[in-house]
Amino acid sequence: MRLDTRAALAGFVALVLLGTACGQTSDGPVTPGAMSSTGAGLTLQGAGASFPGPLYSKWTSEYNRANPGVRIDYQSIGSGGGIKQISERTVDFGATDAPMTDEQLETASKEILHIPTVLGAVVVTYNLAGLEEPLNLDGETTAEIFLGKITKWNDPKLAALNPGGALPSSDIAVTNRADGSGTTAIFVDFLSKVSPEWKEKVGTGTTVKWPVGPGNKGNDGVAGYVKNTPGAVSYVELIYAKNNGLATAKMKNSAGKFVEPTLDSVTAAADGVATSIPDDLRVSITNAAGEASYPISGFTYLLVYKDQDDAVKGKALVDFIAWALKDGEAMARELVFAPLPAAIRAKAEAKLKLVNHAGKALLA
């Protein structure tokens, strides 16, 4: 009897010790380059933005099917997490919606390149039962709604933008996205560009202090609130509005045209900055030039080190990204992500050619 108890105890202790030991090996920080990069099973780790998450999952699984030797794990943990992890070198590549700031780039040990992959767009969505045509909005009016200065749907400014529509006299129920997100960052970046008052009172960021209205968690939370609340207005990602059949407003662009949010009008916005984009490709494309440009959109980026420590892994990484930029475009459209315009894609590919190991370019 006592023997049994003791044996059980000893076994339990051994199990716990074993558990901790295993935990250490599997959960400890994985340094790229320190992991085995030989043999058939090559694994690349990536983490970051959740917005392109569905597309990156599709890309990595399709790429793995075509190249069984390379497995790529992508974790949608948010742009902030992606930037943190690539800076600390715990992943092979990061991903972010908003480009890294200068301050963030300085904290990284080596030069990080931004490689745009696709574009995301943010749409203004609303719940107005009587309205047949899509609502027309311009930047200034949108800012005033979210500042709480326009409170009724039949406000003269809204009526002037929608001469044909019968707008109700009800209150506007403004709501926003509560969790930090690239969606919010793009939306408030647009508002800051078109409204000096917004820029001064609220500003930009993944989370801001909203002047009015309650906040909801995630795109689904925002969409649920808008669907349930007559007179509500908010903003969600284009893909979300499309998949859920939400009403989306046409937004007036810098050329004075009301543009419907579509994949083409988003790609057009990126084309609008093709000549003015800086060398490091870190750019905001909200309120972009061009007649067909939808004004609330942005690039989403992969983050990779220019100098790769491990030739084999580095090669696998750039091969994957090159494939994604070329062959991945059709998959992007299927999943409602706007592909890069040709001019920007050429610049992204040129960036990829800079990735090297010990001075030797990795992309053939």
Binding site: R2, L3, T5, R6, L9, V13, I77, G78, S79, G80, G81, I83, T101, E103, Q104, D171, A173, A178, D179, G180, S181, G182, V202, G203, T204, G205, T206, T207, V208, K209, W210, G213, P214, G215, N216, K217, G221, G224, Y225, N228, T229
Partner: protein
Amino acid sequence: MDTTVPSPQPSASLIGRLRPAHAGDFVFHAVTFVFAFSVLVLIALMLFEMLRGSWLTISRYGLAFVYGTDWNPPVERFGALPFVYGTIVSSGVALVVAVPISIAVALFVTYQAPMALRRPVISVVELLAAIPSVAFGLWGIFVLVPFMRDTVAPPFISALGWMPLFEGPSYGVGMLTSGLILAIMITPIVTAVSRDVLAAVPQHQRDGALALGATQWEAVRVVFQYALPGITGAIILGLARAVGETMAVTMVIGNRADINASLFAPGYSMASVIANEFPEANSKLYMSALIEVGVLLFLVSFGVRALAQLLVWRATRGRSIGREG
């Protein structure tokens, strides 16, 4: 009696020779001590890590972080009071709603319900505990929020809107809605523990009261007095869950960092702001501020517990003196 006399067990004597007489006791003591102690070490380490992670904001804002009411990340102004307020108020609402219901259910199934009804009632209540919080949140968004907005809030606002407690527009989401969701979530645990406590009250307490001519109600009061410390413990367990609950609250509280007396106004809680903003916190100061909110959550949980302990202690002390006298 038996012919097959067992020879002295070789294995036992071997163990006896290898280890001192009370080796089992020693090992048992050592192992339990190590595990018990490691919990304390874990808590100390957690607090240490969190203080280290939030040192940037602690040293920069000091106490202003705790009493400041402005939370504005883009301009790096961090005041956490709205979150502390939201956590305490929403949990308080939850207790006000859940405690009477839970204790009533516990009393009912322990003393009043016919045998055939006891198991089903308990099962249904305990079923609530198995529902994941995100499901409560979704139910909140799609059922409770519209119901609160269109049915519950308007009469209150039109009749009692002059009171700060009920003023303002009806959003559906807000402090009261999250308090109600929390109430549903903590009811099972408060009920289950209260029931166990009531069941553990010696039968002679109740029998004695009844024998002295007490009515059912008076007998229940006697039993209840006896069970009070245990029931307070049950309430604390429920409160601890309410204070730390994140997902369901985030989905219905409105996520607005304001301090507003109205129960219909949107608010924010400490756990919610951490869950919402941590993944995209992109500067060191911002990250540090969120970790400091975590420290505050830690301290509030601790404070609530200590307060409850004090209440229990005073209640039991008063009663034992009363009984002696």
